[in-house]
Amino acid sequence: MARTEELDSPSAYAALREGEKNAKSDYSNQMNQEQPEICQAEEARAGANQLSDRDLVADVLRKDRKATAEFVARYADHIYSYVRRRLIPRADLVEDLVQEVFLAAWENLEKFRGESALRTWLLGIARHKVEDHYRKRLRELQLAEEEESLESEPVSNHDLEEVIAERRAGELTREVLSILPETYSMVLLWRYWENRSVRDIAVQTGRTEKAIERLLARARQQFKKRWYEQQSSK
């Protein structure tokens, strides 16, 4: 209780935190000086260079906790960026899917042969996970729109072409993909950003190619419509 009362004063709390930090730093310096000699050469060697992908993988497979932390620190940003861009309509699922990617990577890490960069290998796993998600969701979602016909009023491409040519389409594209119905965003991302053929998508979702073509046509039209709405609201 006395300690709590003392800490009620901000200056006393700050002084205590400073003291704790100094004590930790002193302790850490002392401990580092006392490390057994046998490790010093190896520490110097390892400290000189960043671990290569192969060495990092080898250490992670040995269940070295620091190497595992390095593995996360080195690749989490890349995987997160990729998954976030591909799951634009479902931002709430991004972190869970990134975790699935890393756990699947651990399960399969022994198979990594170093023939490609570790980042490329991890992105391959991420791509599979994203496509699993698309497949599952497109199978689940009712494609009631299949029965609908396309809007008779086609939407012009002109402004969209202009923005693409000026290389300022990125932010607006993400905004539009995030507000489109999930089915439309996913099929567009799968077809164009993942560069999958209509045939592949049809096979994976258990639909006909014609149904996927019709879905894509509606998705493109809705995308353009929302694009102009968003652009004119700015």
Binding site: K63, A69, Y80, Q99, S149, R220
Partner: protein, 116 residues
């Protein structure tokens, strides 16, 4: 040409749009997420046997944090040396829940996630 058939012009436009917006560069993952990833990976590693001991980790060139250092000195036996002492550490708990956890000691991976 029926309206139900895909428009080739639209198709080419979307191919171009995808190419132009494909790689806006790496975004930084939240440090909370990185902390949770590390915890999940270490838990998974433990499911198939012991972790590398702290002494082996240090000898492989990785610096230990002050808590791991202390643990290495006081823990007796291989099982204790392989124990994931981060599971007892407040730094891990804070890092898993706060984007900028108020933890300061050196060589803690959970602290490093917030810095990078």
């Amino acid at each position: 040409m029926s309206n139900n058939l895909p428009s080739e012009r639209d198709h080419r436009l979307f191919e171009l749009l995808a190419r132009e917006t494909a790689d806006p560069g790496a975004e930084r993952a939240p440090s909370r997420l990185k902390a949770r990833l590390l915890t999940a990976l270490i838990q998974k590693q433990q499911e198939s046997g012991r972790l590398r001991t702290l002494a082996e980790t240090r000898c492989a060139g990785h610096a230990l944090c002050v808590f791991e250092d202390l643990w290495e000195r006081v823990a007796q036996g291989e099982a204790a040396q392989s124990f994931n002492c981060c599971s007892l550490c407040h730094a891990r708990v804070l890092a898993e829940h706060l984007e900028r956890p108020p933890i300061y000691w050196g060589h803690c991976p959970y602290v490093a996630f917030a810095k990078k």
